[in-house]
């Protein structure tokens, strides 16, 4: 441990701590001004803003490249430091276009924030004296570059070197002609390109998807978990007026660090897709017709009866709570065998060695924990051709497999889902469900970590909290699970998973929880 004094406050930090981090601690969580420092990237030391005064050293020192020493006496707000920071900040601003009114970064911009702390002066530079560079240059499928706004902190170039190892971005030219760019013929098209937008402290790199969509100060943020694959990156859902505008990664060092992939970021678009189901549909005269919720509920309850249901099919895209309830319902309806946790052929694609998992379902691990087996489409088709009555499908799109569609053609298909899939088109009753961002739900990622996503927006139309629909169904067949609300539901789930504490899932830590008891459970459905 090293003891040091920062701004008159004595603190003790582990040896090897960066002075930058020690200063944050001593300053009650307030960072030193900075652009280039990023805890997950190498030290660049180029923005020159985190200057501090260390007693006994003649010159000011940048805190990001200094390791604490026992007995250090450091000043972060002395007159000398403040003057240097003010001057360096002015250097950052002299060639900046100050086009905040049309800049997406406005409101979450490092330059703006630091100007409020250290600037608040008139410019010494005539607008006509500024160095002009390229604006609004498309450099990849997701990212657009404005070189004039860039402060050349080199975070994006370091990200592409050190995190993705793809090296698309470089700093070209030198002096005040230096600029971030891609080489001719190269695109910033790796699957993590939007992280460069996150770490860009100014509006130099902006998201083509989010550009000009919404002023950031109007957005509300909700913590959730990405449903794009089995990794379960922690995300922040930024939304306003019931509409999601973007997903941003939320740091979880056990899962995704500070990053997430571009594919995951775009999954919010599925929430607002045109083909979302928002009404109950029933097949009348060969066509699916929308009906009221009250009428639809009667249809659903009427179809889901013991003896009437021939097969129950779930999907690892459903939440942990839902899977527990679906499994219980299936057991009551059909007994042990004629059920499956999902179609094991579905939800696989190419993954990478960073975050994107080849398993594109957010909850396959939960199926494994519940011993709720997935089955291959071919095997399922065989089982279905021997079944009769109602085929009850929760999510996914099993009937996209022709063999399954054929096998199910003799059955009455009741589909509870989110989109107008092939299965919905083939169904006789269709009930709208909520998507991940529309509910408070638990997800088990591939590591076996239970993570909670919160409700950011309301589901469309008649869609409602999915677990209530399931409880309604259980009650109607005389097996009331007696859960009045989410806390009780999560106690039920905890009991099902035999967790040591029945309220554990009601008190999940921010970063989620991986139950040691289930650590050795198999990775996927059987």
């Amino acid at each position: 441990m090293a003891k040091l004094t920062i701004d008159g406050k004595e603190i003790e930090v582990p040896d090897g701590t960066r002075l930058f981090d020690a200063c944050r601690e001593a300053r009650g969580g307030r960072d030193l001004p900075h652009f280039c420092y990023h805890p997950d990237l190498s030290i660049a030391g180029v923005c020159r803003l985190c200057q501090v005064e260390i007693e006994g050293m003649p010159k000011l020192t940048i805190a990001c490249n200094t390791i604490v020493r026992d007995g250090m006496v450091v000043h972060t707000t002395s007159k000398r430091v403040n003057q240097a920071v003010t001057q360096v900040l002015e250097m950052h601003l002299i060639n900046h276009p100050v086009d905040c009114p049309i800049c997406d970064q406005a409101g979450e911009c490092g330059l703006q924030d630091q100007y409020m702390d250290y600037g608040l002066y008139e410019s010494e530079v005539e607008k006509t004296d500024k160095v002009l560079k390229k604006k609004a240059k498309v450099i990849g499928p997701h990212v657009i570059l404005d070189q004039e706004r860039c402060v050349l902190c080199a975070r994006c170039t370091r990200f592409c070197e050190e995190v993705t190892g793809t090296g698309e971005l470089g700093i070209y030219n030198r002096g005040d002609r230096a600029e971030i760019d891609v080489a001719p013929g190269v695109e910033l098209d790796n699957n993590y390109s939007l992280n460069t937008v996150d770490i860009c402290p100014v509006g130099a790199l902006t998201s083509r998807d989010f550009r000009f969509q919404k002023r950031v100060w109007l957005l509300k943020s909700t913590s959730s978990v990405c449903n794009g694959c089995a990794t379960g990156c922690n995300v922040r859902v930024d939304h306003e007026g019931g509409r999601i505008y973007r997903l941003k990664p939320r740091r979880n060092d056990e899962v995704n660090g500070p990053w997430m992939c571009d594919k995951g970021r775009m999954t919010y678009k599925d929430v607002h897709r045109e083909d979302r189901l928002d009404r109950v549909l029933v097949r009348r005269e060969g066509e699916l017709q929308p009906i009221s919720w009250a009428e639809g509920r009667q249809e659903l309850l009427g179809a889901v009866k013991p003896g009437g249901v021939g097969y129950v099919l779930a999907d690892p895209g459903r939440s942990l709570e839902e899977l527990v309830l679906i499994q219980r319902l299936a057991t009551e309806l059909v007994g042990e065998e004629p059920m499956a946790g999902g179609v094991s052929d579905d939800g696989h694609d190419e993954g990478d060695d960073l975050l994107l998992s080849a398993d594109r379902r957010p909850n396959r691990k939960a199926l494994a924990w519940l011993d709720f087996a997935e089955k291959p489409a071919e095997a399922l088709a065989g089982e279905l051709s021997g079944a009769s009555g109602v085929l009850l499908v929760f999510g996914g799109d099993p009937l996209a497999h022709q063999a399954l569609a054929d096998a199910a053609s003799r059955m009455r298909v009741v589909y509870l889902g989110t989109h107008r899939t092939a299965t919905a088109e083939a169904a006789d009753v269709v009930v709208p469900l909520s998507m991940w961002a529309e509910k408070d739900a638990l997800w088990v990622n591939k590591q076996g970590r239970i993570q909670r996503g919160q409700r950011a927006v309301l589901p469309p139309g008649d869609a409602r909290e999915d677990w209530r629909v399931l409880v309604d169904l259980l009650q109607s067949i005389g097996h009331d699970p007696e859960v009045a609300g989410l806390p009780a539901l999560r106690r039920l789930v905890a009991a099902r998973l035999e967790l040591e504490d029945e309220n554990l899932l009601n008190r999940l830590p921010e970063g989620g929880y991986a139950p040691p008891r289930l650590a050795d459970a198999p990775t996927g459905g059987r």
Binding site: I43, A84, L152, R174, D176, A178
Partner: protein, 432 residues
């Protein structure tokens, strides 16, 4: 002191075929290497160099032996770099050393590499020195052929390979970490320190970078001893120094004199005074990156590290730019500010933006658009640059700028037109 005395580095300057191995050998060349490899341990060489008081001649003046001593003793691989990227404006001594006597530098490099236990040495020559690169390469080839380089040098069990590397034309690659990065193949720009190259440099291994003039002095020190070297110069500034003198003096060129001689003597005896019709006004004594002194100040000081520092400037690279009365200081500083603006690598914000700002402000003065506040602004921009960056390039721009303003303010004021449209009152001028 006569002009012929004390030729440690420049003995073979101007000698016909002085760059050839046989001429160098005939004059005792490579004897120092034979002696060192036969008789001395690497640490003894380091001690001898420490003892000699030799200081880095590239500009910083850091004691050479001390720098060598920073290499960790347990390093498995050490690299040695000769900095021949001579690009400090006003400096052309290394060019003479390589042109007239490349073997002296090569022998010095081999001994220096041996001292720090390096088995690979680079000579990094600025790309603009096209013919010199060929000349040095040929000398290296001769040294290989003669068994002074390669495996088991002179049968003494020491291996050293030497690569002549051509720079691509950037001032900043003369900064040692920029130089190392340039050889590595990454952008030629300085690295953040710590770590220092002596601990982690080329490919992450301990690396020593020394100027041409520094290593060129090593063979002489080995033959004649540290004591003999210290006999020249002053207590803290030992030995001799090459001065590259430009400007309208009677004798321009490279002069070797002991450190510590009075500038007035050097001016009289070696430079022969200014050309007829010119009057001595000022001097940038150590390459363009040091503060300018007035003629009066120069006439009062001695040419060594300490005296020049006391006088408010630095010995630097010894690139002595003599400025006559007829020169316009604003025009001159514009040339320098253009240089630093052009050469800033652009990494650190104060340097990247500050050099451009200074350049634009001087341009404004020269166009007759300057306002009185601009002079204070120049000063304040300098304050926002100095000492705040990774490498000294920002300081290198600030030192001439501030000293020009301080010592020749009247010439700047004369550039400010009374008719110029005043801008808004400056924040700096308001004292905020």
């Amino acid at each position: 002191m006569s002009r012929e005395e004390c030729k440690i580095l420049s003995a073979r300057f101007g000698r016909p075929d002085g760059h050839r191995l046989k001429v160098y050998e005939a004059e005792g060349g490579y004897q120092a290497l034979r002696q060192v490899l036969g008789e001395r341990q690497p640490d003894e060489v380091i001690e001898a160099v420490k003892e000699s008081g030799l200081r880095g001649r590239g500009g910083a003046g850091f004691p050479t032996g001390v720098k060598w001593g920073f290499v960790p003793k347990d390093a498995d691989q050490v690299y040695f770099f000769v900095n021949a990227d001579e690009s400090e404006p006003g400096t052309f001594k290394d060019r003479y050393l390589m042109d007239y006597d490349p073997h002296q530098m090569i022998e010095g490099t081999i001994i220096s590499s041996y001292a720090v236990r390096a088995n690979l040495a680079f000579i990094y020559i600025r790309g603009e020195f096209g013919w010199l690169i060929d000349r040095v390469q040929k000398a290296v080839d001769e040294a290989y052929a003669a068994g002074y380089l390669g495996k088991d040098i002179l049968g003494r069990g020491y291996d050293l390979d030497m690569i002549v590397h051509k720079g691509a034309g950037a001032y900043i690659c003369g900064e040692e970490t920029g130089l190392i990065n340039s050889v590595t193949g990454t952008k030629g720009q300085p690295s953040i320190k710590p770590p220092f190259p002596a601990v982690s440099g080329f490919l992450g291994k301990p690396t020593i970078v020394n100027n041409v003039e520094t290593v060129a002095a090593v063979p002489w020190i080995m033959i004649h001893g540290a004591e003999a070297y210290r006999a020249h110069g002053t207590e803290k500034s030992a030995g001799t120094k090459l001065w590259s003198v430009s400007g309208p003096v009677k004798n321009q060129g490279v002069f070797e004199v002991p450190l510590g001689i009075p500038f007035a003597d050097f001016y009289r005896d070696h430079l022969g005074g200014m050309r007829d019709g010119e009057e001595f006004k000022a001097c940038i004594v150590g390459g363009s990156s040091v503060p300018v002194l007035t003629a009066d100040e120069m006439m009062g000081c001695n040419l060594d590290y300490e005296s020049l520092q006391e006088a408010g400037t630095m010995l630097g690279s010894g690139g002595m730019i003599m400025i006559p009365k007829s020169a316009d200081m604003v025009e001159l500083i514009k040339v320098l500010m253009h240089f630093y603006w052009d050469e800033s690598c652009g990494q650190c914000t104060p340097c990247r933006e500050g050099t451009g700002w200074l350049h634009r402000l001087i341009g404004k003065l020269l166009k007759g658009e300057g306002v009185p506040d601009d002079l204070d602004l120049l000063d304040k921009v300098c304050e926002g640059m100095g000492g705040l960056t990774i490498c000294p390039l920002a300081d290198a721009a600030v030192m001439p700028m501030q000293s020009f303003l301080q010592r020749f303010r009247a010439e700047f004021e004369a550039r400010i037109h009374e008719t110029a449209t005043p801008g808004s009152p400056s924040r700096w001028a308001r004292g905020e």
